[in-house]
Symmetry: C2
Subunit: 224 residues, 2 copies
């Protein structure tokens, strides 16, 4: 049974990967970024990060930092990966997964991974599950409104009454829940598990495969 604590402004991660989507505005994402010691920025995101006044101790940039001045460049580490078959998010994740300090289940926060082109949003969310399956890390994508966590098998999520919950099935033939207003089932289509709601302090799943859980920061009467 895997246990997932609520993600909030006190949550900490082994690394934070900043993608090229809309720069975060939400207080949770900004707190995670402010407290990050290690950040991996997807190319152009490095400029935005520094421009917004964030100064993590350790920044690795995937790309060559073309848009950065020399003074700024001196503070950063650059990783140039020529192959074209992966996007920068995958290159960043693979870099982290290959570090000697990374261990199984290392927690990675993904920020700025949504909010621009919707096909990028769809790809980045699907890639979360890909990284979880293939790289033995625990990704958490934090957006302005909530967070996505890929998992598998039996799990338990810390929740609050009225928290909005969506579940996306990645191949489970068994998928059951405890603590949701509408019981989960092995959804065939991606919309079927959305717009559910937590009844109390925990939601538990029993499953025979992989699934992605989305939880909001605000309860149901919040205007989102």
């Amino acid at each position: 049974m895997k246990h997932y604590k609520r993600i909030d402004t006190a949550s900490r991660f082994d690394t934070v990967i900043v993608a090229n989507g809309a720069f975060p505005k939400g207080e949770v994402a900004l707190a995670i970024l402010r407290h990050a010691r290690h950040v991996i920025a997807c190319d152009g995101a490095a400029r935005t990060l520094l421009g917004q006044g964030f100064a993590p101790a350790d920044i690795t940039v995937i790309g060559d930092g073309d848009s950065l001045g020399d003074e700024r460049k001196a503070r950063l580490r650059f990783i140039r990966i020529a192959e074209q078959d992966s996007n920068d998010l995958t290159k960043a994740t693979r870099h982290f997964a290959g570090l000697p300090t990374t261990s199984p289940g290392s927690r990675v926060a993904y920020l700025a991974a949504t909010g621009k082109r919707e096909d990028h949003t769809l790809a980045n969310i699907a890639l979360l599950m890909h990284y979880y399956r293939e790289m033995d890390i625990q990704p958490v994508m934090v957006t302005d409104d909530g967070y996505f966590i890929p998992t598998d098998g039996d799990s338990s999520f810390e929740t609050f009454v009225g928290q909005q919950v969506s579940i996306f099935n990645f191949g489970c033939r068994q998928l059951e829940s405890e603590g949701l207003v509408w019981n989960a089932f092995p959804y065939d289509e991606q919309w079927q598990g959305t717009l559910n709601e937590a009844e109390g302090a925990a939601v538990k799943f029993k499953a025979d495969g992989h699934y992605l859980v989305y939880l909001t920061f605000q309860g149901k009467n919040h205007d989102a």
Copy 2:
């Protein structure tokens, strides 16, 4: 073989459904809305629509228009559907599909269906395919950066050199392309068919099932 023309400011639809996501800013979406004769607005979207100065001849609101003043309400038609198993987007689509003037393949534009909570975005995009399969209409979701079209079997899309293209497989075991930089294949995961590019004036697909095509308004060197 289905033929899809490029969607631009001159595109017209049999109806326009306005959802509760971020109100459109893109010129194509705004032109479609400005020229729409029939609009179906998902509850709160009616208020935004009128507030932004749009005045289509015929507006149907899914919901009870709680947030609208009496003067505004008098101009609108309200459809109240009590059942809780469908969201407003599905209620709006089902309403349109049931009208006597709707015929097979009627073209429906979906606006404001993305840009807020990402689980809503994922659900709404997946619902497009659901409507295409179940209701015999041709949905097109128009966002600020591009458009999604669900289709099946063999198809041809009008494109331009450098247009960014993403393909999402909904169960095809055969999926081939002509006119893309990277040939399509029957993708297992949702990220695999993203970030492709048109080589010329048309992209053609040969497929034995359903798939969703996303095309951008701008070419590859546009900052999106």
